[in-house]
Symmetry: C2
Subunit: 361 residues, 2 copies
């Protein structure tokens, strides 16, 4: 059933029927009623595709996240979805799996589908031609959780630098000297050399804070404690195992997300390590489970739902024609001290530690 059918049934022109059905222009009440009842009788359903074709607007925003299964993104997406719905927009969600090729493909089809704007958490900020393409296509883009300095677009992130600097300092104050920052981010050589190797903005900011706190405390070679490649449970577990089995294992670990923290927690327990006696653990993202473990896990709470909300609001603002300069919104984090952080174990107990490691419970 098309506008033409309804028009015919109502005895008016196609244009008039379209005005009623599309809710634009002006129509007399009598005609409106006639068209509406004809539409109902014929079970008319508008074709948004045709509408979008002519108007150029689709009422849809495209979202590309790294991993829908990561509660961090679930929560952010929920924030986006809620704001979008209230503003009358739909959301096309795509998952890049943190793979740049998938991200590029997703952006391409989203633009081809003529979404009105995009929200993307870029998998790597070294490879952003496809993001520039979005700009070129004239659509607004908002970066989610990961800023890319070389892109003049809106971005919403947490204050990663400050958060990580503060938590690192906290650990240092507790006497820790071997503090590991463990992230899914990776480099070609699988080891951390310089900040520029880190290809996601959030992690780079955090590691910068991590290094700064270390430097200020006079800890040498802090960079050697940045561990990479903890992507997926398997690899995270392998990384954690390497850490625990090292000659000088870390006394504290900062997990870059809750999935990593979960694996670290799990393995630590399997190996019989007691938190926080043998190991202090801090987790970026206040995932729900972190409050029910024993001990509960100290976390850096990021306002992740609000990050999503804000990104969506910014995007929709632009869609409605707000022409402000691109803004990088930085939201504050909160350190929630729970119990997985304690003083560093005295050196010399490492012998006993070794024993425990060899006879896991």
């Amino acid at each position: 059933m098309t506008v033409a059918d309804v028009a015919r049934a109502a005895g008016v022109s196609k244009a008039t029927a379209a005005r009623v059905l599309g809710g634009y222009g002006t129509v007399s009440d009598r005609v409106r009623a006639a068209v509406l009842s004809a539409a109902k009788a014929l079970d008319y359903r508008p074709n948004e595709l045709a509408r979008s074709m002519t108007t150029g607007r689709s009422g849809t925003i495209g979202v590309v996240v790294g991993d829908i299964e990561n509660p961090f993104f679930s929560s952010a997406v929920r924030g986006i979805a809620d704001v979008a719905r209230l503003a009358g927009f739909n959301v096309i969600l795509t998952n890049s799996g943190e793979e740049i090729a998938a991200e590029k493909a997703a952006v391409k089809t989203l633009v081809a589908k003529r979404v009105d704007g995009l929200i993307v958490s870029p998998a790597r900020d070294s490879d952003i031609e496809h993001l520039r393409d979005i700009e070129r296509s004239g659509r607004p883009l908002v970066l989610l959780d990961r800023a890319v300095e070389s892109l003049r677009v809106d971005a919403v992130t947490a204050d990663d630098f400050q958060a990580c600097e503060a938590v690192t300092r906290l650990l240092i104050d507790e006497g820790h000297r071997r503090i590991v920052y463990l992230t899914a981010c990776d480099t070609p050589g699988h080891r951390f050399e310089t900040l520029d190797d880190l290809y996601t903005g959030s992690v780079r900011a955090r590691v910068a804070g991590f290094l700064k706190a270390g430097a200020e405390a006079g800890i040498e070679a802090m960079g050697g404690f940045v561990k990479l490649g903890a992507l997926g449970a398997e690899r995270t577990r392998a990384q954690a195992r390497d850490l625990f089995e090292a000659a000088l294992p870390p006394t504290a670990i900062i997990a870059s997300d809750s999935l990593i923290a979960l694996e670290v927690f799990r393995l630590a327990r399997e190996l019989g390590l007691q938190l926080p006696r043998d190991l202090s653990l801090v987790c970026f993202h206040d995932a729900d489970w972190t409050s029910v473990t024993s001990p509960p896990v100290t976390v850096i709470r990021q306002p992740v739902y609000r990050i999503g909300e804000t990104a969506a609001r910014l995007l929709i603002g632009r869609l409605k024609g707000e022409g402000n300069a691109p803004a990088h919104v930085v939201l504050d984090t909160t350190l929630i001290a729970r119990g997985s952080v304690g003083p560093a174990p005295a050196e010399g107990r490492s012998g006993a530690r070794e024993t425990r490691l060899r006879h896991p419970v």
Copy 2:
């Protein structure tokens, strides 16, 4: 840049350019090369909207889930998204928040956007006219996790009846007599009367199993132990508190999802209840955190990623023209015994229990 522009630049007709750009029909290699290079030079980008308009296919499947933030759905959505991507489909994801009005609106816009097919987890199977509308629109529909008997469409669920019957029996065998099934599902009167009051298929199946196991063990008034309305952390907590503070508190709780189990676990701990000594807990869905608590939580593992995968596969099969009769695929569950289930406490210790409750740690 449109096909016409490219055609002009390449010195061919619009149709020929379209054939190259759209990848259909036959073109000579020489012409193809010319068109392609013209397209590249002009930075041509196809308009999927226009394409969909004429072909009637959008290459998109619409998904409506109850709550993206629920790890159950995140995982299922991931399964859907992965299969869809491999088959060259996009996914428009919408969140109903378990509200029927939002679900209806979502379905309407999805159909208006001419998605090729839909995957829906219906919020309530008493209200399904909008789902019938999908059928009427000629698009295939697959039900996710919640079957609706009166709808002749594909559905993919776990074997909820069997799973819940088995776990209830297990608890009964452990000596439990006051076993609560706690769900987000609700009725107008907020109390369970009959199976027909339960408006989601999965919960109804589970409660049926629950009742059957109870009846077989000769437990009276098993229906009185079905507790409703645990939707969201707040209300779940309130429900759990009521349960714990009752004159005869349950000795075992079956949580209908991991969000509910989390709140129950949290509150039980706050009240100083020891699992499984004072309370046995079983959770539907093997959420990641259930394995790291103390004790870890016994769960019914549903193959949730596969539920999503299977739903997507079924849908795409229909899209490719497979015309089998509608199938209800039922996937097996696994009981993962972890440690939160133990023998029922001996009656008479309830006095001590009361004391503990009044002086929570």
